[in-house]
Amino acid sequence: MTKTKEKSLYSVWFVVPSLVIFLVFFLWPVISSLYYSMTVWNFETATFNGLENYKLFFTDPAMSTSVPHTLLYAFATSGLKVVLAFFIAIFLTSSIKSKDFIRSAVFFPNLVSTMAVGLTFAYMMHPTKGLLNVVIKGVTGSGVDFLGNPSTALWSIIATDVWKGLSISVVIYIAGIQSIDQSYYEAASIDGANWWQQITNVTLPLVAPAQNSIIILSLIGGLRTFDLIWAMTGGGPGFATDVLASVIYKQYAAGFYGLSTAGNVVMLVLISVIAFPLQHFLNKREEAIR
């Protein structure tokens, strides 16, 4: 008994401050939001109404369509970033001229605020005055209503998100690729592996830890995205680009605090259900390589 006491280097009291912060500002809000999500709440009185808010959330098309939109948005942006950033990183780690300049140029979009990017792209996609449509009309004769047509609106925002968010993934990939020991490549080339074989058999497996971080970060970022969509379409036209976060925001603005809290619980559950198993799976993959 005394022996274990001597062995513990730090007292438990060291943990208490952060534990208190965690309990008060994280765990308690999560638990109380579970209660408020089952009420009609106006900040003063909360009337319990069971699972009515959840039922409403999943039956009203104005809200329920946000779930598939969120999933599509998260997986599409994450997938595109993982693939595109990999090739850009390969290019930027190869022996090319003015590498430093190109690397900064690739990182540049990430320095601009999301609102500014959103407004700029929304204007470029304007059906009559936008730069993109002026060019498209010059070539094909008729324009594309990128953000006004429900079948293209979400994809237009996804493309903007990828343009803006790609650079972070590129930076992580570059760090990962540069930490790969050159001797692997030498060994592979002695064995007669060509450029493509070196990428698939040396770079790709050894960059997996970096890739895992990118997948997790971009996927969670995509699931809780709000600012870009709000700046570009506000969830419209109709509900074609509404995601969970924008729906929650709208319900809050309408004064439906209970319903909005229910939306937040749905988002918490959705992110947890996707992120934890994914993390687990990716960790397994990393260990298998080792």
């Binding site: 009609v40 006004g148 809050y252």
Partner: protein
């Protein structure tokens, strides 16, 4: 103890000095700063002129914070109410949106103020909840109507339509003549609701008990033909809209109607001063109500103006009251309407708008008021309004959804609002 007494004496001396200097200059509120929160439309040139005059006459200073508007603005206001951080007075909607704020908790009941007796009853009923009066009209009334460019009508020899069929006919003729018959601002979604909301005159004409039954959850848009019509009217217009209908903004609309790039625009007449400012001459701009099916009964759906509300816990209620008394003096009303223009007839009893106000208000809109063919918009007679209304009107306006589908979806949306407001609709 001695020190404390001396301190009190000094304070009293200073206070009396301050009071006497203020009295000497005739500025009772010298050095008082009152805070105000309101949108760009309320803090317009007219308001600015009146505030400047009030600062001169009363000595107080008005500190202004701008409301970004829309749901952003609602969020800010609701957060500030919840955190007891309201300005001394503010501008916000009257009618159903006032209900959402739970006003007894945050706003002063002003029913004892003399000013209240000067305001007409239609306005007062939109700011009275449980016998308490909370607001005073920031501006004049306005309508949800069709603002049009008169030279196009003269050029093609068209008449102001008194039925919806005639209106669509006019649109067809305008399109044939190479004009853009109707302007649609999908870039600012709230504007797209105006056709639907402004059609309420026709619903209540055909179905007088609609508002009551709707509030009780008995009348549905999808079931009552006159109400479904408000949604299907969008379908009739799909072919007559501007090319950038999905992205156009209100500023684009002001310009398009002002210079005649488009002929009609379903919009609140609060845009009139800005449209007239774009036009070559104010007489080129006209207004008519959303037509129904009965040519004998073509009326106007009227909105009450935004209101001034006073923070119940303000330290400066006296100064705010003095400012508002000043705001509603005849001279200041004239100054306001001459500087900014009017959105419709005034809701101050016995007050006549100055000659400088445009014909669209003093002739076109006034005739509906004179004939008694006006009705308050649904949001002033029922506390329930679906929150997805503007998303639905955009979708049906752009032809992405049928009118019947939108009507049914809106019924569901209203049910959601009703449940959240504590109504039992099952």
């Amino acid at each position: 103890m001695k020190k404390l007494f001396a301190l009190a004496l000094v304070c009293a001396l200073l206070a009396s000095m301050a009071a006497s200097t203020a009295l000497a200059e005739g500025k009772p509120f010298d050095g008082v700063t009152i805070t105000f929160w309101g949108g760009q439309a309320e803090y317009n040139d007219g308001t600015k002129a009146v505030i400047a005059a009030a600062e001169e006459a009363l000595g107080l200073h008005v500190e202004v914070e701008i409301n970004p508007g829309g749901s952003e603005g609602d969020n800010i206001l609701k957060t500030r109410i919840a955190s007891n951080d309201l300005p001394d007075f503010l501008c916000y909607n009257s009618g159903s949106k006032l209900y959402d704020l739970n006003p007894s908790r945050c706003f002063l009941d002003i029913k004892d103020w003399d000013l209240v007796s000067r305001v007409d009853d239609a306005f007062l009923s939109s700011v009275t909840i449980d016998g308490a009066v909370y607001g005073l009209p920031q501006s004049s009334t306005q309508a949800g109507a069709i603002i049009y460019y008169k030279p196009d009508y003269e050029e093609l020899g068209l008449e102001v339509p008194h039925t919806w069929a005639d209106f669509v006919d006019n649109c067809a003729k305008l399109k044939e003549a190479g004009k853009t018959p109707v302007y649609f601002c999908g870039g600012e979604t709230w504007t797209t609701q105006v056709l639907f909301l402004g059609d309420y005159y026709n619903i209540q004409a055909a179905y007088p008990t609609f508002a009551e039954e709707y509030t009780e959850g008995k009348a549905k848009y999808a079931d009552i033909p006159a109400a479904t019509r408000s949604w299907t009217k969008y379908e009739d217009l799909v072919d007559y809209l501007n090319e950038d209908k999905s992205a156009a903004t209100v500023a684009d609309g002001n310009f398009a109607i002002g210079v005649g790039d488009a002929t009609h625009w379903f919009i609140l007449t609060q845009q009139l001063p800005m449209i007239v400012a774009e036009a070559e001459d104010q007489s080129q701009i006209g207004v008519f109500g959303v037509p129904g099916d009965n040519p004998e009964n073509h009326g106007l759906t009227v909105w009450e103006p935004m209101s001034f509300y006073v923070n119940k816990d303000s330290q400066n209620i006296d100064a705010v009251k003095a400012f508002l008394d000043f705001y509603y003096s005849e001279d200041m009303l004239n100054l306001y309407f001459e500087t900014y223009g009017a959105n419709g007839p005034s809701c101050i009893k016995g007050y006549e708008l100055p000659e400088s106000v445009c014909d669209a208000v003093r002739v076109d809109m006034q005739q509906y008021f004179d004939e008694g063919k006006t009705t308050p918009a649904l949001e002033y007679v029922s506390p329930i309004k679906g929150t997805a209304c503007e998303q639905l009107t955009v979708a049906v306006g752009l032809g992405q959804m049928s009118g019947a589908e939108a009507a049914a979806a809106y019924d569901e949306d209203c049910k959601k609002s009703a449940v959240q407001l504590g109504y039992n609709w099952d």
